[in-house]
């Protein structure tokens, strides 16, 4: 689980380089000005690449914060094992 958190933090840091680790943990489109639709697509692509998963466009609505994305990633990685 810690590994997933660390990898996801790296993804966020790559897409939102201005955020430190503390701000990443509480990041959402409301708290991060740079989190627009392009950033969402980039973030999803980086997560797909890093975790080797496919995110369906329908799931985008759920991916609204660091914690919701972490839960989603853990669901997907757990089901694939």
């Amino acid at each position: 689980m810690n590994d997933n958190r660390g990898r996801l933090t790296r993804c966020f840091s790559a897409v939102f380089p201005e955020l430190n680790e503390r701000r990443i943990a509480s990041a959402s489109p409301k708290t991060v000005a740079a989190w627009d639709s392009i950033a969402t697509v980039t973030l999803v692509s980086v997560i797909e690449e890093q975790f080797g998963i496919g995110v369906e466009p329908d799931a985008f609505d759920r991916l609204v914060s660091f914690s919701s994305i972490l839960s989603y990633v853990e669901e997907l990685t757990a089901s694939s094992h």
Binding site: P17, V41, T42, S45, V46, E49, P57
Partner: protein, 579 residues
């Protein structure tokens, strides 16, 4: 490169004083990850630049290109996909794929291709253009099954092939090789349908990375190597000459030696483009001369200079070749089939790139030919490339004659009827001045290099002057051999670049150029942005002769100083007006 690596590479801010590489990315789709990868690859290729990439409006490639015709950016990257030629060739617009539409689509593609081509040619007047033609699979429009090529698809591809062939001839447009792209990005794994539908970005991440990498490399255009030194036995030909004699060596299919024939063919082709080919071989010199005389090699004797054959270490022969060429080891490739010889040469010449000729492996031999083409490939072949070998041989004749003449060099220089033609035209389409600045090490004012982009910007400064010198004498033409560039104001000038090919040494061309610049500008003094480098001893010697002492970094000389110390110049100097 992974997407996360590209994004992380962009986090590192270059120094604020770094020059800006202004790039416009023109494509009809949302650039998204292509933009990220292009930025990351360009930063890798241009580490001392701050890369700034701008993009246009989604879906309007032609409109954006037409805008760039007015903006005149330094670099334009144009990525054309099928939908840019006709929206019905994409999947985001439901325009119909009926058979009756095919004629109209073909016509539309033809019109659009002409407009794109015209616009890119206009942009290339002031901008370096890197172009990618459609890389995605052709959509399943035609009524033929996927395994059968339709006349419709072939007609559309023919239009594109014509467009590529037309644009690739332009000196400022570089078209990426689809064959090389196929190798690094398999065609069946490029199209990301889900991403195209959901975001308008049609590429898989790996394809975006591969395409951006090639585009960046084509913009960087690495300097080709200048010369190749080859071994003979079991490399240029199959067999050990000393054992099998001239009759026993082979390079053809019949003798299972085709790879040696292909290697010879490639070397001949390289020699034609101005690459120097020399030989370093442990052999009997008499037998080697006989082999070149009697055996009808694909690589003729006249294309090779010099041939260094003996029983001493290969590194000694390599040193002799480098001296005859007057080029640095870092610009040269050494080829031998024997790893021990390669190691011995590498130990003596650390900067030389040593490649093993794969004499026992046909696949590896073919790849080896491709590697050589990459190392020596150039965008254009100049008139200087065509006469390089001839002029190096002439230089050696001059050097030998000059030394053997008791009254040398004065008497000799008077006899050779040297003609120096000087042009002050700032023609940004002529790649030769920048090529000389970036390739010359010895007679080089300060070792400063330019990218094509920075060079273009520099020349656009109205205060900047450019002198390009061409030379010929009774031994033949040397072509464009010297460049001086700097700033001129009132009765003073500042030289910021000054280079001269080593093929042109010992003719007092440098004095001729300087005398003419003083005269042309009516200058009383000239300053030089001189800096000593580890390689520019010849220009240091020239200035020391002129000033009577080793030159300091950055100095001036007066007209009187030049006239007092200038030796007789026996050149006929003409200014060529072509503005």
């Amino acid at each position: 490169m992974k997407l996360i690596d590209a994004l992380e590479a962009l986090k590192e801010d270059p120094e604020s004083q770094s020059p800006v590489l202004d790039v416009h990315l023109a494509c009809g789709f949302t650039p998204l990850h292509l933009l990220t990868f292009l930025n990351a690859h360009l930063r890798r290729e241009f580490p001392s630049y701050k890369v700034l990439i701008r993009t246009g409006i989604f879906g309007d490639l032609l409109g954006y290109l037409e805008r760039l015709e007015r903006e005149r950016p330094a670099v334009t990257v144009a990525v054309i996909e099928w939908a840019d030629l006709d929206p019905r060739l994409g999947i985001r617009r439901l325009g119909g794929w009926e058979t009756r539409q095919m004629f109209d689509i073909t016509q539309n593609v033809r019109d659009q291709a002409t407009k794109l081509s015209d616009s890119l040619e206009r942009i290339s007047g002031a901008s370096l253009v890197a172009l990618a033609l459609p890389t995605l699979p052709f959509p399943p429009i035609a009524f033929t099954p996927g395994w059968q090529s339709s006349s419709f698809e072939n007609e559309v591809r023919e239009i594109l092939a014509y467009l590529a062939s037309r644009l690739a001839r332009s000196c400022n447009i570089r078209v990426i090789s689809l064959q090389r792209l196929d190798r690094i990005s398999p065609p069946g794994s490029r199209f990301d349908v889900k991403s195209e539908i959901s975001t308008g970005f049609p590429y898989k991440i790996s394809h975006a990375d591969a395409l951006a990498g090639l585009l960046s490399r084509i913009i960087r255009d690495p300097l080709p190597k200048k010369g190749l030194i080859t071994d003979l036995d079991d490399t240029l030909w199959k067999g050990i000459l000393g054992e099998v004699n001239v009759e026993g060596i082979a390079w053809d299919l019949e003798h299972h030696a085709l790879k040696h024939g292909l290697y010879q063919m490639l070397l001949t082709s390289l020699a034609e483009t101005g690459i120097l080919i020399g030989v370093a071989s442990k052999n009997d010199p008499f037998l080697v001369e006989e082999a070149f005389r009697k055996a009808k090699l694909m690589l003729p004797r006249s294309r090779i200079f010099p041939i260094e054959v003996g029983w001493g270490p290969k590194s000694t022969s390599v040193s002799k070749v480098l001296r005859a060429w007057n080029v640095g080891a870092e610009s040269v490739i050494f080829v031998d089939d024997n790893p021990l010889e390669l190691a011995e040469v590498k130990a003596a010449h650390a900067e030389i790139e040593c490649l093993r000729f794969p004499r026992d492996d046909d696949e590896a031999a073919y790849q080896f030919l491709e590697t050589l083409r990459d190392l020596f490939g150039k965008h254009l072949v100049s008139p200087e490339d065509e006469i390089r070998l001839q002029s190096i041989e002439a230089s050696q004749v001059i050097a030998e004659a000059s030394q053997s003449d008791g009254r040398a060099p004065e008497h000799f220089l008077q006899k050779i009827a040297g003609r120096l033609t000087l042009s002050f035209s700032k023609n940004t389409r002529d790649p030769r001045p920048l090529e000389l600045i970036n390739k010359t090490n010895q007679f080089n004012l300060n070792g400063k290099r330019h990218t094509e982009v920075a060079w273009r910007d520099y020349l656009n400064d109205p205060e900047v002057f450019l002198l390009l010198a061409s030379y010929e004498d009774k031994f033949g033409p040397l072509g464009k051999i010297a460049v001086m560039a700097g700033r001129h104001k009132g009765n003073k000038f500042l030289v910021e670049h000054w280079v001269m090919s080593c093929r042109a040494f010992s003719r007092r061309i440098e004095y001729g150029c300087l005398l003419h610049v003083f005269q042309k500008f009516g200058a009383e003094a000239g300053s030089f942005d001189f800096a000593p480098t580890s390689r520019n001893t010849p220009i240091q010697g020239f200035f020391a002769e002129l000033m009577g002492a080793a030159p300091p970094a950055g100095f001036s000389i007066s007209r009187q100083q030049l006239f007092d110390r200038c030796p007789p110049v026996y050149l006929e100097i003409q200014e060529h007006c072509d503005e």
